[in-house]
């Protein structure tokens, strides 16, 4: 029941307007065919399952239908910020790829 700030709509909105989109920055391997089973399995299934700060995606379902990045604390539900996909990537990298 938290509030999320949609970086496209520029407003804080109720959680009901959004849908969770999974852990952020799980990039599809550039060449899946040359990847071994373990590497492909990691991409498919391995997730951080963090207790604490977590970079994740949300989709603004009833609004702009855009996916964006949220840094959320999975234990306290505190939210450090939300960004567009591109800006979120920069913020994530600025933290060294993980919080």
């Amino acid at each position: 029941m938290f509030l999320l700030s949609c970086p496209h709509c520029g407003e804080k909105r109720e959680e009901e307007e959004f849908a969770y989109g999974g852990e952020a920055f799980i990039a599809r391997p550039a060449d899946p065919e040359t990847l071994d089973d373990e590497g492909w399995g990691d991409y498919l299934f391995k997730r951080k399952n963090t207790k604490g700060w977590h970079w994740e995606m949300w989709g603004h379902q009833t609004g702009c239908r855009k996916f964006f990045i949220v840094k959320r604390n999975t234990a306290s539900h505190a939210i450090a910020g939300s960004w567009t996909l591109a800006e979120g990537r920069k913020a994530y990298d600025a933290e060294g790829g993980a919080a």
Binding site: M1, F2, L3, E14, A19, G21, A27, R28, D31, P32, E33, L35, D37, W40, G41, Y43, L44, M57, G59, Q61, R65, K66, F67, S76, H77, L85
Partner: protein
């Protein structure tokens, strides 16, 4: 007018003596006044016992005056309007109110459990766990009897005739609690110009001030101050006040849920059916100011559960607010100053008052005022034990050591008809704690308090008694200061208006640290002393739990049931924690509290459901042709929120007969199905083919405009998750169809890939599901039907081939016609703007009349497609089937340059196994035997459990076309089993096990009708 035995005429009481009314309790009539609660009305007539306790069946009466009440649970009204387990202390009376007790079986006078009460030594904590543990099979029978005997009300069995709703609020400041400090908070925020919402659970604002009319604030009497404050609040347009509204939960980021009672206080006949009975408010607040007050906890002493024993504050409330004397000869017991004003009020009202203060040193001012009021004061005494049966009649006092909680001598036996005790105040910290806040133990106040600014960062502030400000003047001063901090945090100027909060309250003398009042005996040898009334938890139970090595307070709670139930331990928790701490040899601050969880008080299911019930329970989606289907007698089934025609029974037809008729009519002549519910996505851009190549297993590079292709969509694990036909409109423009239930999921899936992985692809996706209405005209005569209403498309077999589409005009409106088939027959799917959907459907029905065109529903669709072996994603697949498992390798473009979604997973060892479960057909030996869907496939009819499970039946029907049963199933290594080699080895014979029966079946190819696919090409 003659008042009832315990009713007094109190000038400041909040009842209306000019509006008498009559209520009924347990079949007896009682007089009451408007403004009474059920509890105050019953007490006014001298009612004592109205319940039996949960475990021992001990007589119990009213103890509290609000949400803390553990005993007086009633069943309100009857039939569909009945509500179980309401606290009599919270039920406002109305003319004709009818209520019943909820405990006491077979009757209040004779309770089966009271027999047990005499042997209560043998029913300690964990008694039920220990006694009824074996044999486990008998527990349901024990449970039935125990629950029946325990009482508690019953839920209505009829539909609820009342309506409920939800309302969302967005405010800058939410103030929870309309007592004195809450009023100051709301005034401060309101005067600062903020959007303010003030909630109070009672029928009017004022909180404890309503019980304390003889207090004064800034030179005004409490009632006068209250009226001025409320008048000013009401004059502020930016302040909204909701009474009878209980804030019961605080969630992330200051989302508060509150339940408002809108009509419960009205006589049944006066309630409007247009108005909600209760309303759930969901409030998002920038700042929350908790002014939730405190609840007085009783002291724990022998037989402290006798009817006629109250909290001291409840007695004061009954006197001052309701004009009710809880007794005519009252004994009060205290560890603190809070009881004195109430005691004086009682004495001035003509009640004989004896006051035992456990402290030897007390405040001189209070002592003088008490003496002046004629109160007999015993300093340094406790109650060792109360005496009585169905009502208290006396109490034995004991002299206490000045420092240690031990008995140093005997005291007098005091005759009394009511006892009130005060062990101090317990701040109502529940909301503060719901989303992670913790209270801290204040040794000076002897209370768990919510620190005023402890959650300032989260925008939560605490004022008044909830944060331990127990004095009137000091709490108002503190509320003003803290509220101004909240105001300033929102960028508003602090409200500086000087207010006089002066009061004539004497300075506070420290309370005695006492919870369990000693009786001079070893624990367990004196009279039973109760901590939790609702769950019959005595001091000995907590001590036993500790002896049995329960060390965490959460475990002690669960072993003893301390703090469970409808009162959630509002009276008992702190006493329980303190007694557990003693037994554990720890300080209470080390023991901590149990977890405070929503809801603060019970909320009805109706309130939680709101308008989400009946025909607005969830969206029902309709196609443009719905009225046509209703007119033709369709029965409907829900598919992904849509209501789709299921089948169209004619007179006296059952489903089987209707489906048989619909199937044969379609295969012999022509049928028509509403296919509007399929998901449709318009996709445009110069990279659309590349996009489709990536998201579908098939290849799309060469599909020409005017052509359609069936596609399988996979997840990244290589498993089929949707399918449908996608058509090329023009070189850069395609329209995709999805399954009905998968439409939203596919749209989100495609958007996600486009947005996250491939933003550079020039392609835009727009859902057009609702725009197009689709009529599938199916069967050998479908061309003839369409020809009658479509003149600008050449429908001939040569000009308009299978898997082509054409734009044209149907029944006078623009249409896209697709020659595709989900039945194996010649078929055309006519798509029009949905505003024309009804018109076109009716025009096609009219055109088809000479061919006896037959509308059909999903059931016939399923039979027709199963006869052809066409899969239904989600029925024949379950998220673990690859295209190869489905024997649909033809729909996979392995040569596409981009490694399409799911492709890489085909090489994973488990996915690449040859003996995976594979889709096959099944034919039973007996053509009349229709296998059960979900039946397990096993190798042998005779087996010793556990049998090796090879798969299951996914689709199974009677085929009218073949005159026999057909089935599809997923079977381990199924494709090899049905091969000539498999047949030779007899591996094509399996058994389908369901309902305790194995049915022999032969594995066959899953295309049962027209295996060469000739009919759709005519």
């Amino acid at each position: 007018m003659k008042l009832s035995s315990h009713r007094l005429k109190i000038a400041t009481a909040r009842i209306d003596y000019d509006r008498p009314l009559s209520i009924s309790f347990d079949g007896k009539s009682f007089p009451a006044f408007a403004g009474d609660t059920l509890a105050s009305a019953l007490l006014a007539s001298g009612t004592r016992m109205l319940a039996r306790s949960f475990k021992y069946g001990r007589p119990r009466g009213i103890i509290g005056a609000g949400p803390e009440e553990p005993n007086a649970l009633v069943q309100l009204e009857q039939g569909p309007q009945t509500v179980p387990n309401l606290k009599a202390t919270q039920v406002e009376v109305y003319s004709g109110l009818t209520a019943r007790r909820t405990t006491g079986w077979p009757s209040l006078g004779v309770d089966a459990k009271s027999l047990g009460g005499r042997f209560s030594r043998f029913m300690p904590a964990g008694f039920y766990y220990k006694t009824f543990k074996y044999p486990a099979a008998l527990w349901p029978r024990y449970e039935h009897i125990i629950r029946h005997a325990a009482g508690y009300g019953s839920a209505p069995v009829e539909n609820d005739p009342d309506i409920y709703d939800h309302m969302h609020h967005h405010v800058q400041v939410l103030v929870v609690g309309g007592g004195a400090s809450g009023l100051v908070a709301a005034l401060t925020a309101g005067q600062a110009g903020l959007r303010v919402l003030l909630l109070d659970e009672q029928n009017e604002l004022g909180g404890w001030l309503l019980s304390q009319p003889n207090a004064n604030i800034g030179g005004k009497t409490a009632p006068a101050w209250l009226k001025a404050a409320i008048d000013e609040l009401k004059s502020l347009p930016n302040v909204r006040i909701l009474t009878r509204t209980s804030a019961f939960a605080l969630h992330d980021m200051n989302m508060i849920q509150a339940a408002q009672s809108l009509q419960d206080n009205l006589p049944l006949a006066h309630r409007s059916t247009d108005q909600p009975r209760q309303r759930l408010h969901r409030i998002r607040a920038d700042r929350v100011i908790l002014a939730s007050g405190a609840i007085e906890r009783p002291l724990v002493y022998g037989n402290n559960d006798l009817p006629g024993i109250f909290t001291a504050s409840a007695m004061t409330t009954y006197l001052n607010r309701y004009g009710v004397a809880c007794g005519h000869n009252v004994l009060l017991l205290t560890s603190n100053d809070h009881v004195y004003q109430g005691a004086i009020d009682m004495a001035r009202a003509g009640i004989k008052v004896t006051l035992a203060d456990t402290r030897a040193d007390i405040n001189a001012t209070w002592e003088q005022r008490a003496a002046a009021a004629g109160i007999a004061l015993y300093k340094g005494y406790g109650i060792a034990q109360a005496h009585g049966g169905r009502s208290v009649h006396s109490a034995q006092l004991a002299k206490l050591d000045a420092r240690d909680n031990r008995v140093t001598g005997s005291g007098p036996l005091i005759s009394c008809d009511a006892i009130g005790s005060s062990g101090g105040l317990s701040p109502t910290v529940h909301l503060f704690c719901h989303d992670g806040g913790r209270p801290h133990w204040d040794e000076a106040l002897l209370a768990y308090v919510a620190p005023a600014l402890g959650r300032e960062k989260a925008g939560i502030y605490v004022v008044g008694a909830a944060c331990g400000e127990f004095g009137l003047a000091s709490s108002l001063q503190q509320s003003r200061g803290v509220s101004n901090k909240a105001v300033a945090s929102l960028g508003k100027a602090e409200v500086a208006t000087a207010l006089d909060f002066g009061s004539d309250e004497p300075a506070v003398t420290p309370a005695r640290r006492i919870f369990r009042v000693p009786d001079g005996k070893k624990e367990g040898y004196g009279a039973k002393a109760f901590v939790d009334y609702q769950n019959d938890v005595a001091v000995t139970d907590i001590q036993l739990a500790v002896r049995e090595n329960y060390k965490s307070i959460e475990h002690i709670k669960r072993y003893t049931a301390l703090g469970f139930g409808t009162d959630q331990g509002k009276l008992s928790n702190v006493n329980g924690f303190a007694i557990a701490a003693d037994a554990l040899g720890q300080h209470i601050s080390e023991v901590g509290t149990t977890t405070y969880r929503p809801a603060y008080s019970p909320v009805t299911f109706g309130t939680l459901a709101g308008a989400h019930e009946g025909d607005t329970f969830e969206p029902k989606r309709y196609t443009a042709m719905h009225a046509s289907h209703v007119a033709r007698g369709a029965l409907f089934e829900p598919v992904g929120q849509w209501l789709r025609p299921w089948y169209f029974p004619k007179a006296r037809e059952d489903m089987h007969a209707a489906v048989r008729r619909e199937c044969l009519a379609t295969r012999r002549s022509v049928g028509m199905m509403d296919a509007s519910t399929l998901g449709k996505i318009d996709i445009r851009g110069k990279d659309v083919r590349e996009f489709l190549n990536r998201v579908y297993a098939n290849a799309w590079t060469n599909l020409a405009p005017g052509k359609c292709r069936y596609g399988l969509m996979l997840d990244e694990n290589g498993m089929v998750f949707d399918d449908g036909v996608t058509s090329c409109i023009s070189d850069n423009h395609f329209v995709m169809t999805t399954t009905t239930g998968g439409a939203a999921r596919v749209m989100t899936w495609l958007e996600k890939w486009h947005q996250t992985e491939w933003p550079d692809l020039d392609v835009y996706l727009t859902s057009v599901t609702d725009h197009w209405a689709t009529a599938a005209v199916v069967g050998p005569n479908s061309r003839k039907v369409l020809q009658k209403v479509c003149s600008d498309i050449d429908l001939s077999s040569d000009a308009f081939k299978f898997m082509d589409w054409r734009a044209g005009t149907v029944a006078g409106v623009p249409a896209r016609v697709f020659r595709i088939s989900f039945s194996g027959e010649l078929a055309f799917e006519v798509n029009v703007d949905a505003t024309h959907g009804h018109h076109v459907w009716e025009a096609l029905m009219e055109a088809g009349r000479e061919f006896d065109i037959t509308p059909y529903g999903t059931e016939t669709m399923h039979v027709l497609r199963a006869e052809k072996g066409f899969i239904i994603v989600g029925q024949d697949t379950d998220g673990s089937m690859t295209p190869f498992d489905l024997d649909m390798g033809w729909a996979v473009g392995m040569k596409k340059p981009y490694s399409f979604i799911g492709k890489r997973s085909f090489k994973r060892s488990d996915t690449a196994r040859s003996d995976r479960k594979q889709l096959v057909g099944l034919l039973t030996d007996d053509p009349a035997e229709v296998l059960r869907e979900g039946a397990q496939i096993i190798e042998q009819a005779d087996f010793k459990p556990p049998a090796k499970m090879l798969g299951h039946v996914t689709s199974s029907y009677h085929s009218p076309e073949l005159g026999r049963s057909i089935a599809m199933a997923v079977v381990r290594d199924g494709i090899a089993r049905k091969s000539p080699d498999g047949q030779k080895a007899g591996r094509d014979i399996v058994y389908a096990w369901a309902g305790g029966r194995a049915v022999r079946a032969k594995i066959v190819p899953y295309v049962f009708v027209d295996p060469k696919g000739e009919r759709q090409n005519v």
